[in-house]
């Protein structure tokens, strides 16, 4: 594994935004209500970006503008910080010895960011959206932590590069499928999409998306797709063997797998109704949490047995 100079962060950011763009284009393509021709649908991120760049930013009476804007930029920044520790093939921007914990810590930053994006706008619907994210986070965070624990235990290291290396013989998705599925669910949850599009629900006029317009809105929407991309890239490194694969170079395998995971997540969104906070708690704490705990136990016993 090679770590580049500080500017190694730039390609990572570029790849992240590229994958996020691809996710947005696919979302447009799959949406039958997006227009009559394929080009028109797939071009959605371009049209939307142009529209939002042209639109004026608006303010709200007595909004806490500083904290609001910090919150709006939060998801995009968090996504960038997440991928910094995720290897693309055999290159990684920052090879932290505690990469798995770093990823989790960044995810927890989102609690503050989305809450501020809702609260800072001084709007009842925004506030409800912020609350909703916290309620949802309470549900998905513990299962996510344990799902992250499983690959770390199996690899005996918190360094993501070590986790990738430990999958040389067998991808972790094969012997920890529950952790993999819970992780993907958590990715949908922290990117506020699909069954977890609750903090930005249409029933509260967009929730955290009620008030921002123009560039503010663009940053938040881009952040959501970037989180989806960052989550998918991490899933590839932790469960799908990272850059391992025949013929193609390692970085290309990482990219292909990441795009495949993103495509699966995007295709799933919108097919499943949104889970309200009370239902999320039931699913997360009575279903996902015991299942991931059992998964970690099984993985730990196997790891000890091997030795």
């Amino acid at each position: 594994m090679t770590t580049g100079a500080w500017w190694g962060v730039l390609p990572a950011a570029g790849v992240l935004l590229g994958v996020a763009l691809a996710a947005a284009a696919l979302a447009g393509l799959l949406d039958p209500a997006g227009g009559s021709t394929l080009a028109r649908r797939a071009g959605r991120p371009v049209w939307e970006t142009a529209r939002l760049l042209r639109q004026r930013r608006r303010g709200v009476v007595a909004a806490d503008t500083l904290l609001w804007r910090l919150g709006l930029a939060g998801p995009l920044v968090v996504a960038l910080l997440m991928v910094v520790v995720v290897p693309l093939g055999d290159r990684v921007a920052a090879d932290l010895p505690v990469g798995v914990v770093w990823f989790n810590a960044m995810d927890v930053l989102l609690w503050a960011a989305v809450w501020l994006a809702g609260w800072g706008s001084n709007s009842a619907y925004g506030l409800v959206g912020g609350y909703r994210f916290l309620a949802q986070a309470l549900g998905y965070e513990l299962p996510l932590m344990f799902a992250l624990t499983a690959p770390a235990v199996a690899a005996g290291s918190l360094r993501i590069a070590d986790v990738v290396a430990a999958q040389r013989e067998l991808w972790f998705v094969v012997w920890m499928p529950v952790a993999f599925l819970v992780f993907l669910g958590a990715v949908l949850a922290f990117s506020m999409s699909g069954p977890f599009a609750y903090p930005d629900g249409r029933d509260v006029a967009g929730g955290v998306l009620t008030e921002p317009s123009g560039v503010d809105r663009l940053i938040l929407l881009a952040g959501r797709y970037a989180l989806l991309a960052a989550g998918a890239a991490t899933a590839v490194a932790l469960f799908l063997g990272g850059g391992s694969g025949p013929l193609l170079p390692a970085w290309l395998w990482s990219l292909v797998k990441t795009l495949a995971v993103v495509a699966a997540l995007v295709a799933l969104r919108g097919r499943v109704p949104v889970l309200r906070a009370d239902r999320v708690m039931r699913v997360a704490w009575l279903g996902a949490l015991p299942a991931t705990l059992a998964q970690v136990l099984a993985v730990a016993m196997l790891a000890v047995g091997r030795g």
């Binding site: 039958p32 227009g35 009559s36 004026r56 303010g59 009842a124 509260v204 008030e211 097919r271």
Partner: protein, 369 residues
Amino acid sequence: MGLTGELLARWAARRPHLLVAAAPGASAARLAVEAQADRAGWPLAAAPADADVLVVAGDPGPELSAAIERVWDQFPGPRARVRVVDPADVASGLAAAVARLTGTAGERPDPGPDGAQLDGGSGRHGHGDHGGMSMPGGLMMAERAEDRDGLKLDALHLALGPVLADWPAGLVVELAVQGDVVQSASARVLPPADPAAVRPYPDVDHPGLRRRRQAVAHLDSLSRLWAVVGWPAGAATARRLRDALVDDVPLAAAYAGFRPLDRRARRSHALRRATDGLGVLSAVTAVRAGVEIPATACGDATARWRRRLAETDRLLSGGEPDTSPEPDAVAVRELAAHLMVGLDLAAARVVLASFDPDPDELVAARMRS
């Protein structure tokens, strides 16, 4: 405008977002607007911050007009507005509005409200007339009140509607919420300019058209409910079917399209989990609320959307249009508001959408009495 500006405007024009503000009695115009938006691939915005074009469907009365003006003031700009009354004018009206938005109509687009940084309202659609201390910005502080657990919590007055996505035209539900739990709810409809002229959408003499329009109304209600529940795929399919029926496709073709949707909805556990046990209406509840119970509205939200599916199935497979007297619209509205109390905002909206009180019917009922 520079070259970049022109390019941005051209790209932006591919996907303008519409905010539809409909007056009661203008169902036909609203349906035409939504169908045209779907054909052109233009999304319907959930809030003014997300919208470029304000579409006023029908002829709103003074109070509804004032509310629409407040919403218009919250458009970030560039913005355009258009009013449509006749469904036949919808396509040209919307196209002209989009041309004004991008400046291709030869005039400069409306840049947005002056000093767009302030919008001067407490909620987006609030009718802030509550006593109490005021804050900088002219906003009211929330008052404190006892909550259901005997705690003293801030009570916020929040008005849902009259301009809200997936919401009955002109309906306003005034809520007092603590956290996001509804403590009290009262509903009313802001009438159109000429309430005497309002005829409910399915209320036509020709039986074939009546059958078709009843099915359209059911599918419209279902699409709204599913959008509120957060099932965009189901909502979009129901809306497509609805638009096809308005467009006079043969009933058999509509039925063939309806069957898979019906199956998918009935088989979806996730959908049932989202609506089960919400807004359970029993005879006891109705008596306590002091209203006469319409038999078709019993059970929970799931039972109500299943009944709508069954009724749509019956109509589309050639059944006779429903000639039983309409349930008392005012009673339905009161019950829906009553059942919202004690639920969180999300569940309360599902309950209201499961009843989906028809504002045309409400206005007509008021004129009769």
